[in-house]
């Protein structure tokens, strides 16, 4: 009888521990409880429960710790200070899969806040244990371990190098091939985090054969997976020409263009980022993408999206047009300018407007034909406006000024330049007048139009210093017209005539 009695005592204690740990875990899911829990000193209580005899108590305690550490970096630091991590790492090797999942969750929650915390996670030897977890059979354990590795590698290149040195990359590539979608997602995001820091890391990822597996999954219906895949591929491709060529050789185009029309916004954005990173490097790569019909797909994408999501598409058009004039012509032919001018009018954020202005400048700067195509889309007044407004950021002003200059230096289509004459500031006016002085000496019809539209009058009203280039241009223009006409339009001519009338009257 007494034996049963004593055993009952132990049973009650175990039940009490289990309920405590479960309720703490439940409470930790709600953010408002966590402060109270912290003040009540939950960390000190949970720590010994991690070493409990009963496995479910251990697992639930680890889960609760993970949720607490996930919430803020103070709690994560207190986890580190409480020397919990070495214990977790030690038991990662020993225990069953539920515990491994919970322990990996804790490591991930600690590592995600800052590089220092991630470094302290590595210092406890977590990397080897996590890599061993990657070789498990259970997919949820692999997912938790991969997630933790991804969060560690996210912060900087050094930490990524540690992760790679632990031999995790081939195992991550193996995880990519597993049938579970969640595991694939997390593996792709981890590879993306590793590859984004430096070309050597990206090369390591490529050497493990990641590109082929990533490329196979492009047309998978799951949206989150596609996001991660495109992010990974673009992080690989952005570092150098060779890596970009390797990504292109995996034959992802033209299948990737289908994802530019996906219903999920971030899939579209990441796909456009990938195309932008590839196009950035050399004219040959840009040519290849243009020949595959990429420009049309990107222009449609820019047309259907708004805000930050269309930024990569705009930049892609700018990079394409920047290489050679035939590529710029290809962008024009694919109706890129219309979309860019619509974007210029619609967008409000500075960096997107700056990117649009830059892209338009790249398109228009090659030859007069390009400049005409850009100017006809009624872009120049808007660019001028952006340049003139002082409440916008410096970057936007400089970019719009450069774009305007580039386009104006090649633009010989006069009907577009006329409105600018009336509105522009002196340093832009210089270029506008320079263009007029290039065209007017040779074209009689243009001269007539110039006079009738009031341009000549405006020219006379410009005040200049002697010897400046602007004065020279004005002289060149004035020399195209007969003197009387020039005099007629010069300011104050009416008064002069009246004075002569007075003098004539006086004399007579």
């Amino acid at each position: 009888m007494s034996q049963r009695h004593t055993l009952q005592v132990f049973e009650q204690y175990q039940k009490a521990r289990l309920t405590f740990v479960q309720s703490v875990a439940d409470l930790a899911t709600r953010p408002q409880n966590i402060e109270t829990l912290q003040n009540a000193g939950v960390m000190a209580l949970l720590r010994p429960l991690l070493l409990d005899v009963v496995p479910s108590v251990q697992q639930t305690a680890a889960l609760a710790l993970g949720r607490l550490a996930n919430y803020s970096d103070h709690l994560a630091e207190s986890v580190v200070r409480g020397d919990i991590l070495p214990q977790l790492v030690y038991s990662l090797a020993e225990q069953n899969r539920f515990y491994k999942k919970a322990a990996a969750f804790v490591l991930r929650a600690v590592a995600k806040h800052s590089p220092q915390l991630a470094q302290s996670v590595i210092d406890c030897g977590a990397l080897d244990a996590l890599v061993v977890c990657l070789e498990e059979f259970d997919p949820s354990v692999k997912e938790a371990a991969t997630w933790a590795l991804g969060y560690i590698a996210r912060h900087n290149a050094e930490l990524s190098q540690h992760v790679v040195d632990a031999g995790s990359v081939p195992l991550l590539v193996l995880c990519l091939q597993e049938p579970e979608i969640a595991l694939k997602r997390v593996a792709a995001s981890a590879l993306s985090d590793i590859a984004k820091h430096s070309p050597e890391l990206a090369q390591t990822v490529v050497d493990a054969g990641a590109i082929a597996h990533l490329a196979q999954m492009i047309l998978n219906p799951d949206a989150q997976l596609k996001r991660q895949i495109f992010s990974a591929l673009s992080q690989i491709a952005k570092h150098s020409v060779d890596l970009a060529e390797m990504v292109v050789e995996a034959e992802i185009f033209p299948a990737a263009f289908a994802c530019l029309n996906d219903s999920d916004e971030y899939v579209k954005k990441n796909c456009a980022t990938l195309i932008r990173e590839i196009v950035k490097h050399t004219p040959e790569l840009a040519q290849m993408i243009v020949n595959a019909g990429g420009v049309a797909a990107v222009v449609d994408y820019v047309a259907t999206t708004r805000g930050n999501v269309r930024l990569p598409g705009i930049m892609m058009l700018g990079y394409t047009a920047a290489h050679t004039e035939s590529l710029a012509m290809a962008v024009i032919v694919s109706k890129g300018i219309n979309q860019l001018s619509i974007a210029l009018n619609e967008e409000t954020e500075d960096h997107i407007l700056a990117a649009t202005a830059w892209a338009l400048g790249q398109i228009g700067r090659h030859t007069p034909e390009h400049a005409k195509a850009v100017a006809v889309a009624n872009v120049l007044p808007k660019l001028l406006q952006l340049y003139m407004r002082t409440d916008l950021s410096e970057d936007l002003q400089t970019k719009s000024k450069k774009a305007l200059k580039n386009i104006l230096q090649k633009c010989v289509y006069l009907p577009v330049l006329e409105p600018l004459l009336h509105e522009a500031s002196p340093n832009i006016l210089k270029h506008v007048v320079a263009q007029f002085s290039k065209v007017l000496p040779h074209d009689p019809k243009a001269r007539r139009l110039f006079v009738t539209s009031g341009g000549l009058k405006k020219i006379q009203e410009i005040k200049t210093e002697e010897g400046s280039p602007l004065a020279e241009y004005i002289n060149t223009i004035n020399s195209c017209f007969p003197e009387e006409v020039v005099k007629y339009y010069s300011p104050g001519y009416a008064d002069e005539l009246l004075e002569r009338v007075d003098h004539h009257g006086n004399r007579a």
Binding site: S56, L63, F257, V295, A296, V333
Partner: protein, 356 residues
């Protein structure tokens, strides 16, 4: 002697006169000497000068001739170089002309071919259109698939609903709620109810009705039972018991479980099993074969000959008594000589009977 004394008296005077004369003579001599020196020097000077002049002229002549020679050489060389330059310039100009024309042609035809650029741009436009239509079609296909999936999901939900509420189906006497005599046709739910098959509710694998607490998954613990609505009252049973009661599996008796036609089916099965085990289908066939008739011995087929007369019956030698004549057959037709050569000159290989 007088002269000598006069002379001695006048010696001084004479000496003086002599001196004087000597001086005069000396003076004149000197004067003439000087004059002759002057004449001589003038003459010598003249001669020397004219000689030098002559020499100079000779030297000048030599120098001019030499210089002329050298200058002519130089001139010839310069002329040659000039001519060479002219020739080179001529060839260079022509080469430039060729290069100019070739480069213009090449650039216009291959590098910046205007027409091929135009064609490229039109081709690009077509390709763009193609890609746009392809993408649009893919988009539409995806949308349609999604719609289809949604439709399927809806129907599956309705069917799931119908399986649980099968009692709402209408009977002949009592029309159900989805079927009314005032409607032309029963509603879709009614049709689904009629066509669903009733299934036994299956036990879900995650719910263990047996009471076991070890190694339960943490997440499932918290979400098994629905929350209590009002104030909880009274002592409650353990959650495992309630779960067991709620999701208790059906335990039908053996009599319910057996098929109605179990015996007939069993009979059929046994028959089939027996048919498989049988060797042949003839029902009363025995294993012995009596088909063959008894073959008589060869010795019994001959008629009985007495042993004494057996000697006359020589089975291997020709029985000449039975012959009509003594002679053998006569060959009336001579043989073909070719056949004698058979198998000597040429052996035709027979398929079966070859000699090798």
């Amino acid at each position: 002697m007088a002269a000598f004394l006069e002379l001695r008296r006048n010696a001084d005077q004479i000496l003086v006169e002599l001196e004087h004369l000597a001086k005069e003579a000396e003076y004149v001599r000197e004067y003439e000497n000087r004059a002759s020196v002057i004449v001589q020097s003038a003459w010598r000077g003249y001669v020397a000068r004219s000689h030098i002049k002559y020499l100079n002229r000779c030297a000048t002549l030599i120098q001019t001739r030499w210089r002329i020679y050298k200058a002519q050489q130089l001139f010839r060389q310069k002329l040659k170089e000039h001519v060479l330059q002219l020739r080179l310039k001529y060839y260079d100009d022509n080469a430039v002309k060729i290069q100019k024309i070739w480069r213009g042609f090449y650039v216009r035809k291959y590098v910046l071919d205007f027409y091929s650029r135009k064609r490229y741009l039109t081709g690009l436009e077509q390709k763009n259109e193609q890609i746009r239509t392809q993408l649009r079609e893919y988009r539409e296909y995806l949308d349609q698939k999604q719609l289809e999936q949604q439709r399927q999901a809806n129907i599956a939900k309705l069917e799931e609903e119908a399986k649980r509420t099968h009692y709402l189906v209408s009977t002949k006497v009592v029309p159900g709620i989805y079927n009314s005599k005032y409607l032309e046709a029963p509603k879709e739910m009614e049709i689904i109810l009629r066509t669903t098959k009733f299934e036994l509710p299956t036990t879900t694998t995650t719910m263990k009705p047996i009471k076991s607490k070890k190694d339960q998954d943490i997440a499932t613990l918290t979400k098994i039972l629905p929350p209590l609505k009002s104030k909880p009252q009274g002592p409650f049973r353990a959650p495992e018991d309630v779960r067991y009661q709620r999701y208790r599996p059906l335990k039908p008796s053996l009599r319910c479980e057996t098929d109605y036609f179990a015996t007939e089916k069993m009979r059929e099965e046994l028959k089939l099993q027996e048919w498989v085990d049988r060797i042949h289908d003839d029902t009363f066939k025995s294993g012995l074969c009596h088909d063959k008739s008894y073959p008589r011995m060869l010795i019994g087929e001959e008629p009985y000959i007495e042993p004494t007369k057996l000697q006359q019956v020589a089975l291997r030698q020709p029985n000449k008594k039975q012959w009509a004549t003594d002679k053998d057959f006569r060959t009336l037709v001579h043989g073909v000589p070719e056949f004698d050569k058979f198998e000597m000159t040429y052996v035709e290989p027979h398929y079966y009977y070859s000699s090798s």
